[in-house]
C-alpha cells in the first residue's frame, strides 16, 4: 500500500480561504475582505457566504473568549477549521466528512497545515498585514498569496517513501490532506538525526567555520542530512520554517526529480511554466481578473515579478556545490540569478539564503542583507570563502554521518509503531512511514481519535494552568485487539500502537516502559 494512495483525496468538499476582518466592512465592498479563496472558480456569492458564516462565528465567540475565538465548527457533513494567522487575518479551511472516502480528520492536524502555510508565506514575503499596508488595494497580497498557496498545494508525485512530515497536497486537481492515516506524524516539528558525540563535535566545528566565513556579521546555519536535521543555530520557529522548506524543495530527495527529468526541463522553462499555468487556468477566468494575471499584473513601472519560492523543480545544483534557482529572478542588469532572501521570525531581519549541498549533506546559511555590502558580489565572495575554508570539513562530516546512518528504517523499533514528540524542542520522531502502512485501518482510526482527545485535553490544561504541565496516560484496547496508547509527561508526548501485543494491560505498560527506557532515556517511565 503506497503512501500516496493512502492519502485521502478531497475534491468538491474542500475550501480554503483567507480574509481580513478589517477590510470590506461597508456594504458593497465585501469582496475587498477576501484575500484568498480556493477553489477560485467558485462564484463570489458562495465565497462570500462561506466567509460570512466564519466571520459571524468569530464575532459571536469573541464575546465569550476575546483571546481565542473560534477554533472549529463541526457541522454534520463539514468541519470548519479556524486559524487566526495575524491579528484580524483569519484562515479557514472547510473539509467534508465522509465515512466511505476515508475522510476522517484530526482538527489539530488540519490547523497545523494552516499554520505551516502561513509561516512559510511570512518567511518569504513578510506578514500579510505588512503587504496590505504596502499596497492597500490588496492586489499585491492577493497575487502573492494565490501563487504561494497554489504552489504549496500543488502536486509532487515523486515522493520518497520515508518522507515523513511534509507532503504536498494537490494530486492533479485533487487535494489530499493529512487524514487519520497520518496520525503517526506531527506537522510543524523537525526530525533530528541522532548522532554520536564525535560526529556532533565535527558538525559543530563545521558550523563554526561556516559562520566565521561571513566575517563579523551574525550568521545562522542549518545542517541537514538527508531529510533530517543535524544542527541549527536558528531560533525554534525559524528552524521549523526553514527545515520545512528544505525538506520540501532543497533536500537531495527533493532535488532528485529534477535530475531525473533534466532533459525535459532543459528544453526550456516553458514546459514547467505551462504546467504551472495550467493549474492556474483550471481555476478559471474569475481568478484571472480578481487575483491578477501573474504575468501582466500591473504594479506601476516596477518589476511585476511575483516570487514563487514553492515552485517545483526550480532548484538545481550549481558547479560550485551551491544550489541555485531562478525563482528570485535575475539580478538587475546581469544574467546571474538573484540570491534568495528570507525573513527571520525572531529577529525580523531579512537574510540571504545560501544552500550548499554535498551528497546527502545540505547546509543552509543565512547572512543578513545589511551586512553584505555589494549584494551579489558580496555573496559570491562569501561563497568562495566557504568553499575554501570548509570543503574539507564538509567531506569529513558527510562521510562520518553517512557511516553512522542506519538508512530509512533507522528509527524503526520492532513491534512498535510510535510517534514521539518533544514539544519543548519541537522535535518529533516516528516509525518510518513504510512500517506505519502495515497497521490496519482500525488501529489508525482509533489512534486518530485518541489523539483528538489528547489535543482537547492539552488545550484545556493550557487554559487552566499554563505553568503546570499535566501527566496523562491513556491506553485503549481497539476493536481489532490492538493496544493504542498515549502518554504525555512534562512537554513530551508518546503515541503508540501495539498490534501484536498480548492480552493484558500489564503487558502493554511493560512494553511502553521498555521503550521509554531504551529510546527516551526514561522520560516516560514514571512508575
Amino acid at each position: 500500500m503506497g503512501l500516496s494512495s493512502a492519502n485521502t483525496v478531497v475534491n468538491e468538499g474542500f475550501q480554503f480561504c483567507i480574509f481580513d476582518l478589517r477590510r470590506g466592512q461597508h456594504e458593497g465592498q465585501e469582496l475587498d475582505k477576501i484575500l484568498f479563496f480556493y477553489p477560485a472558480d467558485l462564484p463570489f456569492s458562495t465565497q462570500l457566504s462561506v466567509i460570512g458564516l466564519s466571520e459571524g462565528l468569530i464575532t459571536f465567540t469573541r464575546i465569550f473568549s476575546p483571546e481565542a475565538a473560534c477554533e472549529v465548527i463541526e457541522a454534520e457533513r463539514h468541519s470548519h477549521v479556524f486559524h487566526q494567522a495575524e491579528p484580524d487575518i483569519w484562515m479557514v479551511m472547510v473539509v467534508e466528512k465522509s465515512k466511505e472516502s476515508d475522510a476522517i480528520w484530526r482538527i489539530d492536524a488540519l490547523r497545523r497545515v494552516l499554520k505551516e502555510v502561513h509561516s512559510l508565506f511570512v518567511m518569504f514575503h513578510g506578514s500579510i498585514r505588512s503587504l496590505l499596508d504596502k499596497e492597500p488595494s490588496g492586489e499585491l497580497v492577493r497575487s502573492h498569496l494565490y501563487a504561494f498557496i497554489m504552489d504549496y498545494l500543488s502536486a509532487f508525485q515523486k515522493r520518497s517513501p520515508w518522507d515523513i512530515c511534509c507532503c504536498d497536497f494537490l494530486v492533479g486537481k485533487k487535494i489530499k490532506l493529512p487524514s487519520f492515516r497520518d496520525c503517526l506524524k506531527e506537522r510543524g516539528t523537525v526530525q533530528m538525526l541522532t548522532v554520536g558525540r564525535e560526529a556532533a563535535l565535527e558538525v559543530q566545528s563545521l558550523v563554526r567555520v561556516l559562520e566565521s566565513c561571513a566575517g563579523n556579521a551574525p550568521c545562522y546555519s542549518l545542517v541537514l542530512f538527508q531529510d533530517l536535521l543535524v544542527s541549527t543555530t536558528l531560533s525554534p520557529d525559524d528552524t521549523i520554517n526553514l527545515f520545512t522548506y528544505a525538506v520540501l524543495r532543497l533536500a537531495p530527495n527533493a532535488l532528485l526529480s529534477r535530475a531525473s527529468s533534466w532533459s525535459y526541463l532543459r528544453k526550456g522553462n516553458t514546459a514547467s511554466q505551462i504546467a504551472a499555468a495550467s493549474v492556474m487556468a483550471s481555476s478559471g477566468s474569475v481568478s484571472e481578473q480578481f487575483y491578477g494575471s501573474r504575468d501582466t499584473s500591473p504594479h506601476g513601472g516596477e518589476r511585476s515579478h511575483v516570487v514563487r519560492p514553492l515552485q517545483h523543480n526550480k532548484w538545481y545544483k550549481g558547479t560550485d556545490g551551491f544550489l541555485v534557482t531562478d525563482i528570485w529572478g535575475p539580478e538587475v542588469g546581469s544574467m546571474v540569478s538573484a540570491t534568495p532572501t528570507v525573513l527571520l521570525h525572531q529577529t525580523e531581519e531579512r537574510m540571504y539564503l545560501c544552500v550548499y549541498q554535498h551528497k546527502s549533506l545540505t547546509l543552509i546559511l543565512l547572512f543578513p542583507i545589511s551586512s553584505i555590502l555589494n549584494g551579489e558580489q558580496g555573496i559570491s565572495v562569501v561563497k568562495q570563502q566557504i568553499v575554501e575554508n570548509a570543503s574539507l570539513k564538509m567531506l569529513k562530516v558527510e562521510e562520518k554521518l553517512s557511516k553512522g546512518w542506519g538508512g530509512e528504517n533507522a528509527y524503526h523499533v520492532g513491534g512498535y509503531r510510535y510517534l514521539l514528540v518533544d514539544g519543548d524542542r519541537n522535535v518529533s520522531r516516528a516509525s518510518p512511514p513504510g512500517k506505519v502502512t502495515t497497521l490496519t485501518k482500525e488501529s489508525l482510526i482509533s489512534l486518530s481519535n485518541l489523539r483528538e482527545e489528547i489535543d482537547l485535553e492539552k488545550s484545556r490544561a493550557k487554559w487552566d494552568d499554563p505553568d503546570h504541565e499535566k501527566d496523562l496516560e491513556i491506553c485503549i484496547r481497539a476493536k481489532n485487539n490492538a493496544w493504542v496508547i498515549a502518554r504525555t509527561t512534562r512537554g513530551k508526548e508518546l503515541y503508540m500502537v501495539l498490534e501484536k501485543a498480548n492480552e493484558t494491560l500489564l503487558f502493554a505498560s511493560d512494553a511502553i516502559e521498555k521503550f521509554s527506557n531504551r529510546y527516551c532515556s526514561g522520560a516516560f517511565s514514571l512508575d
Binding site: 558525540r197 519543548d424 505553568d467 501527566d471 514514571l526
Partner: protein, 757 residues
Amino acid sequence: MFGKASSSQLSVSLGGSGALSHVYIQHPPLRCSIPGSKGLFYDDGNKLILSPTSDQVFSWKTVPFASHVAPTSDSISEGPVLSIRYSLDSKLLAIQRSNHEIQFWNRETGETFSQRCRSETESILGFFWTDCPKCDIVFVKTSGMDLFSYDSETKSLHLVETKKMNVSWYVYTHESRLILLASGMQCKSFTGFQLSSAGMIRLPKFEMAMAKSEANNKPVLAAEDVHIITVYGRIYCLQVDRVAMLLHSYRFYRDAVVQQGSLPIYSDKIAISVVDNVLLVHQVDAKVVILYDIFADSRAPISAPLPLLLRGFPRASSSSSRTGNKDTDGSEANDRSDHETIIYGDNWIFLVPDLICDVAKRLLWKIHLDLEAISASSSEVPSVLEFLQRRKLEANKAKQLCLAIVRTVILERRPVSMVTRAIDVLVTSYSNSIKTGSYFKGIKAEKPPTSDVSNVNPPTSVVDESIRREDALGKSIKHGSASGVENESINRSPAFSVSDSEENVSFENSNHLRSLGAKADRENFKVAESSQSEVQKLSLQSQLLGPSNSPLNANYSENLESQVTSAAISPDEMYSCVFASVEEEMAGDPAYFVTIVIEFLRSANVERIKVHPNIYVLTVQLLARHERYAELGLFIINKILEPSKEVALQLLESGRQNIQTRKLGLDMLRQLSLHHDYVLLLVQDGYYLEALRYARKNKVTTVRPSLFLEAAFASTDPQHLAAVLRFFSDFIPGFKNTADHIAYCRILNEMNSSITA
C-alpha cells in the same frame, strides 16, 4: 655574596630577555682555577671537570650546574697527564700517562697499578669507561680497540676482547655510548660501536661525504669536524664539510647509517651544542648561533642567526645605569679582570652537550635557551607551541609561555583555523605525555592538581629535593636533568636493554605509569589501558626505516624525560589558565569563544582525553547569558557537553529564564540517577505527585515528607493533600505518629469542612 649576586641578576635577566638573542650563558660561571693546574679535562661519563695538579686532582660536578660548587680532590702521583677519567662507579681513577701507559688508582685503598700496550708499534689514542656488561674500560689504540674488565680481587685488568683495525682518530660521547673510529687516507671511513648496558653493537661501516676543492687535493677529515649528538633519544653524527660549507647529518640505526640532509654553515670554525634537545650550531667566526629543532624532518632553523648573550655580567648589566650603580664593587671588583669574557674567544672549548669551557681563564659556562625570546620571535603560533611543548629542561617556563600564548591568540581573536591548530598541538602533546608517562611523573614531582589549579607557583616537594638545586637565579626551580652518577646508573638499565626497539621502552613506561596513575589518584585519565597498538603506532612513527632498522637509542634519554616535569598542559589547566581567565576578559558576542571551546572539545575527544566539567559549565553559562537556548539544547542533547552533576545544576540555574533549559537540567539529573536531587527539584517545581511516584520507584527516602505535604497544601487541592498523606502513612512506618501527620490531618479536615460548608 650569592644573595647579592642573584638579586642583581634577577633584574638583569628580566630586562635581558628582550635582548636580541635566543641563547645565553649566565654569569657567574663555574671557576675551576686551582694554582698549579696542568690543564682542564672533562670526564663526560661522570660529568666532571677535572683539573690535575702535580700531586692532586680536583673535580667539580657540572650537573646540576652551579657556580659555587666546591671541588673535591684526590691525591695522585706526579707525572704527565694526557687524559684522566673516573670510573663510572667512581672507585677508580684512570690517568693516561703516555702513549703506551695508563695508570689506575683505587680511591679507597690508594693502591695503584698500570696497564701498558703490548707492543711499541701501537699507541693509545684514548680510553673511556663503559657500562657495557662485558667490559669496564675500553682503550682505543692505533691498531684497534682493547676491551678490559676490572677484577676487584686481583686489582688488575683482564683483556676481554680486541677489535683489530687501523684507527687514525676516534670520537666518543658517553651520552650516546657510541664510538666512531676513523680510518683511511682521508679519515672518512668509519666503524662504529655502541657499548651500552645492553651489550656491544657493531654498526655497519660507512663513509662520510666530502666535497673536493680541486682535482688532486683531497681534504682530510679531522676529529674536531665530527660531532656525535643526541636529541630526542636519537643519535646523530654531524660532519663539517669545510669545502662545501655544509654540515652533513647522519642518523644511526641498529643496522644502518642514513644520511639525513645537510645544514648550511657560515663559518670555518663550527661548534655544536645540544641544549634541551635543541641543536645549536655555533658559527664561531661569525659569532652567531643558529638553532635547529630536528624533531620533525624539517631542516629549517628555528630563527635567524643571533649572537650568544652573556647575561648577568656586572659590567654589561650596569652599562645602562652605570652612574648610580654602586653594587658592582667589593668582591666582584676583584675578579673583574677575570670576567672579561670574550664571546666565542679562541680559548673556548665546547663540551658535550651544553657546556663551554674557557681554557685560559678556567671558567665553565652552561648554555641556556631563552624560551621567551624564541617564542616571541615567531608569529607561527602552532609551531612555536610545538617547540615549547618539546622542551623539558625548563618545562614549567615553557608551560607558562604556552598558556600565555594561547590566551593571547584567543583574546586577539585570531582566525579560528589557527587557534584550532594551536589547541590541537597542546592537546596532542598532553595526550602523548600521558601515554609516555612523563606527565604523571611531572605530577608526582609537583602535587596532584586540584580542580582549581590556578596557582602557578613553582612546585616544591620533598620527593626529589636531592636532585634539585636552586639555580643561581633563585627565581625558578629546575630539575637536574642528568642528575649525578647514582641516578644515571639506575636509569640506564632498562632503557639500555633496548636498542632493538623502542616499543619496549614505551611498555616499560606505560606499565610504570599504571601504578603511578593509581597512586596519583587521578581516575579521570584512562591511561592504564594504553593499548599495544597505540604504543606500536607511536614507535612506528619514529622509525623512519621501518621495523628492520630500529633506531639506536640514546638509551637513557627516555627515562630522563620522564624525570622532569613535562610542559604538557592538562585540560584542567586549560580551563583554569586559559578559558576561565579569557572568558572574563572577552565581552560581547560569545560565538568566537564558543567556537574555540568546541574546537578544544573536539580535539580532546579525538585524543580521548576527559575534559573538566567546568568547561561545560562555562559554556552553558555563556550560551544562556546570550539567550542561545536552541544551541544550548542541541549541545546537551548531542552530549557535546557531557552530562555531569555540575552541568545539570548549571542548566537548572540558567533555566530560570527558560523552562526548556531547566527541563534539560532535570532530565540530566534523572539520567545520572541523582534521584534525591531530581525528586527535590520536582517537588520544588510543584510536581509533587510525579515526585512521589518517582521516589517510590527509585526508593528515595531522603526527601522530607513535609516538603511534599507543603507543596500539596499549596495547590489547595484537598484530594491531592489526602493522597500525599495516605502515601506517607502507607509507605513510611511510624509516619502516623509524627507531628507532620497530625498537623496536615488537621489542615485537611479544615479544608474539607470549608468545602462542604
